[in-house]
């Protein structure tokens, strides 16, 4: 399996990259860490004459903290995100997603933008992006748009990103006090694994009323895209954050929200059962964290 021939472009700025994208259009692919794209090229699943590498554009790999949000550049790697103090402190579910993706070698190259644009239903950072209510920042030549992450994924391997667009990064609102989140991924082995099921949950409770006032639950590997578990969220909202309500929400997620299929990694039946277990467990830990926050 050899890499096919292609022209290699290394723009130094976003503008230059967008110009290239405009010029080459469909016949060019963006290259970030290459951990998906190079594999796909070798396997001949993707054909292209041009690769536009983003690795020299410094602005794309920044992680910056603003007043009530953070910006994560599309080219920030898993290793880099995991090391960021603000992420370790305020976005634990995202850190956990980054820490569990692939292995050390892959985490040094794999980017969050690549993970999102690759749009695998099993992507390790995607449930976290969903529960933190991230906004995807897209740019094409002379144009910018912002897409809520819940609208970003359109199918397996598909996103709403247009051929002339580049994903520049994500904006994540900083979670409020009394909130917490957690992510669990389940596979056959402990590392270098493609998930059988992965779930992230976020919840915020009111310390006065002791009720859940916000919750977002995201399920991976159980539908065509990573999805929000809308019915489970509705079931938990306004409830007391305790085992019984977590269990009820988990049952909702398992029965109503997920739509898994059979494939060689696992059966739909098992995936569905695990949605229940992981939803319950992520909610319980999220609440522990919320209490500590």
């Amino acid at each position: 399996m050899l890499l096919p021939m292609f022209e290699f472009h290394e723009p130094l700025s976003i503008e230059e990259a967008l110009e290239l994208k405009k010029k080459l259009g469909q016949n060019a692919r963006i290259l970030a860490g290459g951990t998906d794209l190079l594999v796909h090229l070798k396997k001949k699943l993707v054909k292209t004459d041009n690769l536009i590498s983003l690795s020299r554009i410094k602005a794309l790999s920044l992680i910056t903290e603003q007043k009530d949000s953070i910006f994560i550049g599309a080219c920030a790697t898993m290793a880099q995100i995991s090391r960021s103090p603000v992420i370790a402190k305020k976005f634990t579910a995202l850190k956990s997603g980054c820490d569990n993706l692939g292995n050390h070698l892959i985490r040094n190259r794999a980017t969050i933008g690549g993970n999102a644009c690759n749009a695998s239903p099993a992507g390790d950072t995607l449930p976290a992006l969903l529960i933190y209510d991230s906004v995807a920042l897209l740019e094409s030549y002379g144009k910018k748009r912002e897409i809520p992450i819940a609208d970003f994924f359109t199918g397996p391997g598909k996103s709403c990103i247009q051929p002339d667009e580049i994903l520049t990064g994500f904006r994540l609102p900083i979670p409020t006090d009394h909130s917490g989140a957690h992510y669990i991924q389940l596979g056959k082995r402990k590392s270098s694994e493609i998930n059988v099921v992965n779930v992230a949950s976020f919840l915020e409770y009111d310390p006065g009323t002791k009720k859940v006032i916000t919750t977002r639950i995201a399920l991976g590997s159980v539908a065509a895209t990573p999805i929000r578990a809308a019915r489970a969220e509705a079931a938990l909202l306004g409830q007391a954050p305790e085992e019984a309500s977590f269990f009820a929400a988990a049952e909702m997620a398992r029965r109503e929200d997920c739509r898994p299929i059979d494939d060689f990694r696992g059966t739909a039946g098992y995936r569905q059962a695990m949605v229940g277990v992981l939803t319950k467990r992520t909610l319980a830990t999220a609440y522990e964290r919320a209490k500590g926050a």
């Binding site: 399996m1 050899l2 292995n103 389940l186 056959k188 082995r189 402990k190 590392s191 270098s192 694994e193 493609i194 059988v196 060689f264 696992g266 059966t267 098992y270 059962a273 695990m274 277990v277 992981l278």
Partner: protein, 786 residues
């Protein structure tokens, strides 16, 4: 026990500096002037008739130097066992699995070779295919080989003692089944080779192989050449685990391309091709009935097994015999019957892999031993010790345990794991389990019938004196055999390890059957010791004469000559030595005569000192059909304790620790022994927990890479406590025997017994994916609820 200077230490491996610095040369590191690159055309269909092959477009592509099919390669059949040669280099009339080789191209670049392969036009008539045992055995099923009606590749029927009668006397009878999945060896270095003819017509094949000798013979046979005109060399090899223990079609195609083009040709398997070629562990479906008395005496085993063999025989005939012959031991069981069947189908061919044939039978049987212990309320260790063979015992199928530290191994893991405190006291979800196993230290007979020596070794002393050169055709494939033989040579000669240089893996150096069946330490070790003893005797003979000392009073130790009686005046010899080194500043001045001086003097008297050594086992085994398979000059044995945590809600199993004791006879190199023990455990865990080659309904491998074929990662590896139990094996060099394969035997059943202990479920199909364990637990809960 004897005292040793070199062996039984933790000497640094002699290949470590090369490997640590990246200087070790593997096949793909080698290029030759004018070298061409070869590529294979392999069948995209699992079963099809070849109507025509048109190579004209491929030949016309610029840069292509040769395109070969069966027309150039010939129709000579080859395989592993001469009784079952069923392969040709290229398919002639039909293809039998996705990956069956049809043609090959040599071109000036790999890109051109691959492009040319795409230009070869093959017309196929697709035939119905069979992919499972059931499909292959059905009446009217499509047939793979005309010579094997019913797709039955081989069957074995054996009975020792009287199983039916013995079962009647039993108080407890357990029958259960077990199935594993096809494995992949998952060695790091994919197969690769370079073939080259010199101007005199000598073919040199450099290959990533475990068995230069067998490859040499197969190449010579298929190409119609004298064995003496074929040289096979093995550079450093990144493991094989049994898969590289026979000539492969790429090696043969490469040689033919070199013959056609008169240029060096290099070929490599991609990882996907490694999976397509396969030849790793079979899928076994076992049914075993074990009977015991209520005092725990094991009485009889009734064993049936079906092997999913794939398209060709490969090692399969040996596999199906091994599956039966290595079951009864390590226990004293007088009655054992075996019915084994190996079935062809349109998948890649299975072969030999670490623990050849015996691993899954052991995994099932060792669980039954636990079931029996549970039923009679006996500690599983006690029950095993009660039935354990002793040194000198012979199994009902004539395998003799000339040394056997099995009970010591059990005691070692009992203590090492704190078994007595833990067993029965683990909370739900935590479990502890154990198992035993044993394995050959080298197959008693070569793969082809022959009286050949299994290993020959040459030890030559350098003419200046002081350094010993060891030449062996054995195969260092990462297991540390070069180091072991250098240590044995140093020990036998009585010189420091630093003074031994060793070259191996080249058929020009002699005969060695290679690295399979855990044979080299015992067999090549013997030949090495024999050669070193021979060289040493020649040096001492000269000394005895020169110093007028009786030969038997002389010895060599740590590089110095020792005298049993008074040290004679050796100044004349020293003067003679020093005279030849006028101007040198490091001339010997010690009180003792050095080996360096002695071997120089020996050279001056007799010319080059060359010691030769050889080894073949004594006649082994019984007289019945298939009696040869399973025989060995010695058997290694081991016991393991696994501790696990089972997540009762998700079915995820975590292996917390493995305590492993292995009787390897005398450990030549303790660190290497532990390395083999840990490597075996990791392979066993992989097979128990996540490895399986998965096919779609067209016979295509779905997970032909190491991302989707899941070997253990370092994160999955538990803490391993490796305890080396030493016995003194009378048939081994310095008392040594195997550790390479036997150490995998207890791993899977120990884990399965621990999972049962933790979760109350017996799982009769591998691997223990979270999903399989989850459903077993659900099923158990449902049954308990009723």
């Amino acid at each position: 026990m004897k005292e040793f200077d070199i062996i039984s230490t933790r000497a640094h491996r002699i290949d470590t500096p090369d490997k640590a610095t990246g200087q070790a040369v593997f096949t793909d590191d080698i290029t030759r002037p004018g070298m061409l690159y070869g590529a294979l055309l392999q069948s995209p269909h699992a079963h099809a008739r070849i109507l025509s092959i048109d190579t004209s477009k491929a030949k016309a592509l610029a840069g292509v130097k040769s395109v070969i099919t069966h027309e150039q390669a010939g129709h000579i059949k080859y395989g592993v066992s001469p009784a079952r040669y069923d392969e040709t280099v290229f398919a002639i009339d039909k293809v039998r699995y996705i990956g069956d080789e049809i043609a090959a191209v040599a071109a000036v670049t790999l890109e051109i070779a691959l492009a040319a392969v795409e230009l070869i036009e093959v017309e196929y008539e697709i035939l119905p295919a069979v992919f499972t045992l059931e499909e292959a055995l059905k009446e009217g099923a499509p047939q793979l080989h005309e010579t094997s009606p019913g797709n039955l590749c081989a069957e074995v029927h054996q009975e020792f003692g009287d199983v039916a009668a013995a079962l009647k006397e039993c108080d407890i009878i357990k029958t259960s089944t077990m199935k594993n999945k096809r494995q992949d060896g998952a060695f790091i270095e994919m197969q690769g080779c370079i073939a080259e003819f010199d101007n005199r017509g000598v073919l040199t094949l450099v290959s990533s192989t475990q068995v230069p000798h067998y490859v040499q013979r197969t190449v010579a046979m298929v190409l119609g050449m004298d064995v003496g005109m074929v040289r096979v060399k093995k550079p450093y090899v990144g493991a094989g685990f049994g898969i590289k223990a026979a000539a492969n079609p790429m090696e043969l195609a490469c040689c033919i391309l070199a013959r056609e083009t008169r240029k060096p040709v290099k070929m490599n398997f991609t990882r996907k091709q490694v999976f397509m070629y396969a030849r790793a562990r079979h899928q076994f479906s076992h049914t075993i009935t074990t009977g015991a008395k209520k005092d725990g005496t094991l009485m009889a085993i009734k064993h049936e097994c079906w092997l999913d063999g794939g398209a060709y025989t490969s090692f399969g005939i040996a596999t199906v015999y091994y599956t039966g012959s290595l079951l009864g031991g390590p226990y004293k069981i007088a009655n054992m019957s075996y019915d084994g069947y190996r079935v062809y189908n349109n998948k890649p061919t299975c072969g030999a892999q670490r623990g050849h044939g015996a691993v899954i039978a052991r995994a099932l049987f060792e669980q039954q031993v636990d079931m029996i212990a549970e039923e009679i309320g006996m500690d599983p260790m006690e029950l095993r010790i009660k039935n354990m063979m002793d040194t000198g015992d012979t199994t009902c199928n004539d395998l003799n345990m000339s040394s056997f530290g099995m009970s010591e191994c059990i005691e070692a893991v009992r203590k090492g794991s704190d078994w007595d405190k833990k067993k029965g006291n683990m909370p739900t979800g935590k479990g502890i389990g154990m198992a035993c196993g044993f394995f050959v230290s080298g197959a008693g007979y070569p793969i082809y019938r022959s009286d050949t020596y299994h290993g020959t070794v040459i030890v030559k002393l350098t003419e200046d004196g002081g350094t010993a050169l060891v030449y062996t055709a054995s195969a260092e494939i990462g297991q540390g055999s070069d180091t072991a033989f250098a240590m044995i040579a140093a020990e036998a000669l009585g010189i420091p390890l630093d003074h031994v240089r060793l070259a191996s893996g080249d058929t020009d150096m002699g005969v060695d059957l290679g690295a399979y069946s855990s044979r080299q330490t015992l067999m090549t070790g013997h030949a090495t010791k024999d050669a070193a003893d021979h060289a040493k005797a020649q040096v001492l003979e000269v000394l005895a004469e020169q110093l007028s000392v009786p030969l038997k009073e002389l010895d060599i130790k740590n590089g110095f000559i020792t005298f049993a009686g008074d040290t004679p005046d050796f100044s004349a010899l020293r003067t003679r030595y020093i005279k030849e080194h006028r101007g040198w500043i490091d001339n010997p001045d010690s009180e003792h005569l050095t080996f360096k001086e002695a071997s120089r003097i020996a050279f001056l008297e007799k010319g080059s000192i060359v010691g030769t050594g050889k080894y073949k086992p004594h006649n082994l085994g019984g007289k019945f059909k298939g009696a040869a398979v399973g025989t060995s000059p010695a058997y290694g044995c081991s016991a393991q304790v696994a501790e696990v945590t089972v997540d009762m809600e998700t079915g995820q199993v975590t292996i917390d620790s493995i305590t492993d004791a292995h009787d390897c006879g005398k450990a030549i190199n303790l660190t290497s022994v532990e390395g083999q023990m840990e490597g075996s455990v990791s392979m066993g865990i992989g097979e128990a927990m996540h490895e399986e080659v998965i096919f779609n309904d067209k016979g295509q491998v779905l997970n032909a890479d190491l991302a989707e074929y899941k070997i253990v990662t370092s994160m999955d590896m538990p803490r391993i406590k490796a305890i080396v139990v030493e016995s003194d094996e009378p048939n081994g060099p310095y008392g040594a025997k195997e550790v390479g394969e036997g150490a995998i035997m207890p791993t899977i059943p120990a884990i399965l017994n621990a999972v049962y202990n933790a979760a109350g479920v017996r799982i009769n199909e591998l691997p223990l994916t979270p999903e399989r364990v989850y459903f077993a637990i659900q099923d158990y809960k449902d049954r308990m609820a009723k």
